[in-house]
């Protein structure tokens, strides 16, 4: 019963957070100066047209009315239409999302594999040159703004490694010939590597530091001393007793950062002209496209909340003490 209570509480808390986020998303973007119509910078757009457009898009209604309509539509799964293109928001979001997710996944995978690996090694080799190099390297990458790191990679690394710095595909691929599937896949992967690496390096720094710290704490526990006294190998001690127990805070960290990492992709996508959700958000802010912004931020909020909930539930599974 205790376990069920815990799960129900967590889920209810998540639902409440989503509702607060929905409301905040509505208020936040409308506090920006101007609206979708005043953001229309077309030379032929007369004042009469702008009034017509404001009415067509429902921007002439009071904020309260707009909020009620927004909630009503959302309850029916309707995220509205883009104020600029008048296309359904779901289809506006879909393409960029398909572009962002693989890049973020690759970056996260890189960060987890190398962050956890180097963190464990640094803790295991505490006080050695390896530990110091890992510590300073982790601190360095963690403190770098992603857009700055991205620019450094564009200006100084990309030419050296010969990888593309913009977009998702080679502009000339398939224009005058018919590329094979492998050629297309390789091309897409090549375009994904540098933005994913940028994102991954920043997150990698964070993972390394946290894993090292958690491992150091665990390796100082009595049961580690006991396992050594029992004559277990170094590997068995670190892997079976140290690593598994140190993973609890790491799981929380990974789950939380998975949610935030999509938001973090905004600046990286901007540097690499990567047409994902980040670029869409920048464009929607410029155009005061409220429905697109609301939906995109709802998506970001949901990803944080869902991954947070997953971490809570996983914690419950891994460590029964949380319900006590």
């Amino acid at each position: 019963m205790r376990g069920t209570d815990y799960v129900v509480k967590r889920v209810l808390f998540a639902i409440g957070t989503v509702f607060v986020a929905i409301t905040l998303n509505f208020v936040l973007f409308r506090s920006l100066s101007g609206d979708a119509v005043s953001a229309l910078r077309c030379r032929g757009c007369s004042q009469d047209f702008k009034e017509y457009q404001r009415k067509t898009l429902g921007l002439d209604k009071s904020k309260w009315e707009q909020y009620k309509i927004y909630l009503g539509d959302l309850a029916q799964g309707d995220m509205g239409r883009s104020l600029r293109t008048e296309e359904p928001v779901t289809s506006v979001l879909w393409e960029p999302l398909k572009t962002t997710i693989p890049m973020v996944a690759l970056g996260t995978l890189f960060a987890i594999v190398f962050g956890v690996g180097t963190g464990v090694i640094a803790a295991w080799r505490r006080g050695t040159a390896t530990d110091k190099a890992t510590l300073w390297g982790g601190l360095g990458f963690y403190s770098m703004p992603p857009q700055w790191l991205g620019l450094v990679i564009v200006l100084f690394i990309s030419g050296w490694v010969g990888l593309p710095t913009s977009g998702v595909k080679d502009p000339t691929l398939g224009i005058l010939d018919d590329p094979g599937v492998i050629e297309v896949v390789v091309d897409r992967l090549e375009h994904m590597i540098l933005p994913a690496l940028t994102l991954g390096l920043v997150v990698f720094g964070e993972y390394t530091l946290i894993v090292r710290s958690a491992m150091l704490e665990t390796l100082g526990e009595d049961y580690i001393l006991t396992s050594r006294a029992k004559g277990l190998t170094n590997w068995a001690t670190v892997w079976k007793h140290g690593f598994r127990n140190a993973m609890l805070p790491v799981i929380t960290l990974v789950a939380l950062s998975l949610g935030f990492i999509i938001g973090g992709a905004i600046t990286v996508e901007y540097v690499f002209s990567y047409p994902g959700i980040g670029l869409l958000i920048v464009e929607a802010i410029d155009q005061r496209d409220y429905p697109v912004l609301q939906a995109a931020f709802l998506l970001l909020t949901l990803s944080v909340i869902v991954f947070n909930l997953m971490a809570d539930l996983l914690y419950f599974r891994l460590d029964p003490r949380v319900t006590e």
């Binding site: 920006l32 005043s38 047209f49 913009s166 502009p171 005058l176 540097v271 047409p275 005061r288």
Partner: protein, 581 residues
């Protein structure tokens, strides 16, 4: 034992390094393979191959009734016929030339224009392209001008009706003579009637005309120099040369236009040979790009003009001394424009006095120039009664009447938008230095993006019909992109543009009357005289202090020649003329 464990660790590390190295080699190899396959494809085509262009502005739409971005207009110029287009020569500057219309003439009263269009035009789906398509496009734009087709409203200004008595004759009737009729109607892409007419009838008020995305489902029916192979709003859009095009064919087999969010990546790709042409080079990057092997930086007359924007609304509430042209002139005289040109624009700009800019053949050459002379400016302010306080800052005396204001220090906020394509903050610093020499304080106010900055100028609630708006801001520094035809630039200081394009709040009925007159004056000499007078009115009132007119800069690969850089968003020649050298 310890040594064995260290050995294992070393083995794991070495393995990882080997994997990374092998992976990198594979990536590098495939990168080279991709590059060579692109080159092979280009040579296979037999023509000049693929012209690869980088740009920092994107194509938002191929729907002429629902686009905003200049790159969208450029794309439609390439894929749709226009009645007329714009050409450029060093001698004449910009002038109208033929496109789908071979010839044209106006009636003596200037209210009827007759166009003879090309007889053998074909849409990309094989259907004939006739004068009827042009007539339908014009009439549909007129029909829904207050709604679905409003974006093209200015193209059909004063048009009553267009008719096509036969397949090669188009007659356009106006309710008044229009001085710039060809410039206006030439900006309207002609769409295939057989494709678009069903959308007109689909929804009340022709609403589907606005929401239809022809690029959404390829092949899109085109009629310009290119067909559309693929479209990616924030990626690469590919145009393929159309062999059936009625005009001069493209030298390149295809044009690939790639969008970049920032010029750093774009320049990096040009220098590496991944691009043949970038349509803009930031002023700060010119010298670095010039040093690149196989790259040439090109200069031509630019339309971008920067200015000090003075709130000129006579109903403004505070700092009303800034409504006095003598005060604005004195302040302007101590702004070092030469320094701005060198520091901000790297020398790639010239001083300008008129709001229509150097790009327009209608620029009044007899304005000013406003001379840089801080000593004379100080004397002028002294003479006007703005004495320095104990802190060295001048004080504006108290005034009485409807808009009474207490005595106050001459200290002003200057709005700088964040969306500028040059270093606005550095520009402000130079203005601040000049003002300081006069005992006047300038404070930077970051305006945010264009929409937010404009809202600061107009106020949150703006209504021109009730004279509400433009009550708070004092000064901004911004820019305009002027075109050869000056009508739009002249309009931005009319009352009709309040809350829409006016960024000064100026309200001068005499000027507005002249604006109306120039619009319906067909005689070029008479129209020029009116336009000169209007420019002088704006100059004398110091609605703006014009600062600099940029040189337009782009960069091209030396492997290509024949660029017509100055025809960006003016003519199909912009894409069709470059060829492999």
């Amino acid at each position: 034992m310890k040594r064995r464990r260290s050995g294992r660790l070393m083995l794991v590390l070495l393995g990882t390094v080997a994997l990374v190295a092998a992976g990198s080699a594979a990536w590098l190899g495939s990168q080279r393979a991709t590059a060579s396959s692109g080159a092979a494809a280009a040579s296979k085509a037999g023509g000049s191959g693929i012209l690869r262009i980088g740009t920092t502005s994107y194509i938002d739409s191929f729907n002429p009734w629902n686009y905003i971005e200049g790159q969208g207009l450029n794309a439609m110029i390439m894929t749709y016929p226009l009645l007329v287009q714009v050409d450029y020569s060093n001698k004449e500057g910009y002038f109208i030339t033929s496109d789908f219309a071979k010839s044209w003439k106006a009636s003596t009263d200037g209210k009827t224009w007759t166009f003879k269009v090309r007889p053998n035009g074909k849409w990309s789906d094989g259907k004939p392209m006739t004068a009827d398509d042009a007539a339908w496009t014009i009439n549909t734009t007129v029909k829904y001008v207050d709604g679905a087709t409003a974006v093209q409203g200015s193209s059909v200004n004063h048009v009553v009706r267009a008719t096509a008595p036969n397949s090669t004759t188009l007659i356009v009737k106006y309710d008044a003579p229009v001085g710039n009729a060809l410039w206006l109607i030439g900006a309207l892409p002609i769409v295939p009637r057989h494709v678009w007419e069903p959308y007109e009838k689909k929804q009340k008020g022709g609403k589907a005309l606005k929401t239809y995305r022809p690029e959404g489902k390829l092949p899109m029916v085109t009629g310009g120099a290119y067909t559309l192979k693929s479209y990616e709003k924030k990626g690469t859009t590919v145009f393929i040369a159309d062999p059936n095009f009625y005009g001069p064919k493209s030298n390149a087999d295809a044009v690939a236009l790639t969008f970049y969010t920032n010029s750093d990546s774009m320049i990096a790709d040009l220098r590496r040979g991944n691009l043949d042409w970038i349509d803009q080079v930031p002023f700060g990057a010119v010298s670095a790009v010039k040093k690149s092997k196989g790259v040439k930086v090109n200069e031509w007359p630019g339309g971008e003009i920067t200015n000090i924007t003075w709130n000129s609304n006579s109903r403004k509430l505070k700092n009303r001394e800034l409504l006095d042209p003598r005060v604005k002139k004195a302040l302007s005289m101590c702004v070092n424009r030469d320094k701005m040109i060198q520091v901000v624009f790297g020398g790639y700009a010239t001083k300008v006095e008129s709001l229509v800019g150097h790009i327009s053949p209608f620029e009044n050459p007899n304005l000013g120039p406003t001379q840089y002379n801080c000593s004379a400016a100080n004397k002028a302010l002294d003479k006007l009664g703005y004495k320095r306080g104990s802190d060295g800052i001048r004080v504006a005396p108290a005034t009485s009447g409807k808009y009474a204001q207490p005595a106050h220090a001459m200290s002003y906020e200057v709005i700088i938008p964040t969306s500028l394509d040059f270093n606005g903050t550095r520009m402000f610093e130079i203005l601040k230095e000049g003002f300081a020499k006069l005992g006047v304080t300038a404070r930077l106010k970051v305006g945010g993006d264009a929409t937010a900055s404009y809202a600061l100028e107009t106020d949150a609630k703006c209504d021109g019909s009730k004279n509400i708006g433009y009550s708070k801001f004092d000064i901004a520094m911004w820019d305009w992109i002027a075109g050869p035809e000056p009508d739009f630039q002249l309009s931005v200081v009319t009352k009709g543009q309040w809350c829409s394009w006016s960024d000064t709040g100026w309200d001068n009925p005499a000027y507005d009357k002249l604006y109306g007159q120039q619009g319906v004056t067909v005689n070029p000499a008479k129209r020029r005289a009116i336009i000169y007078k209007m420019q002088k009115m704006v100059y004398d009132a110091f609605v703006y202090t014009q600062l600099t007119n940029h040189v337009a800069l782009d960069a091209t690969s030396t492997k290509w020649t024949g660029f017509k850089n100055e025809l960006n968003a003016f003519s199909k020649t912009y894409y069709t003329s470059p060829k492999k050298s």
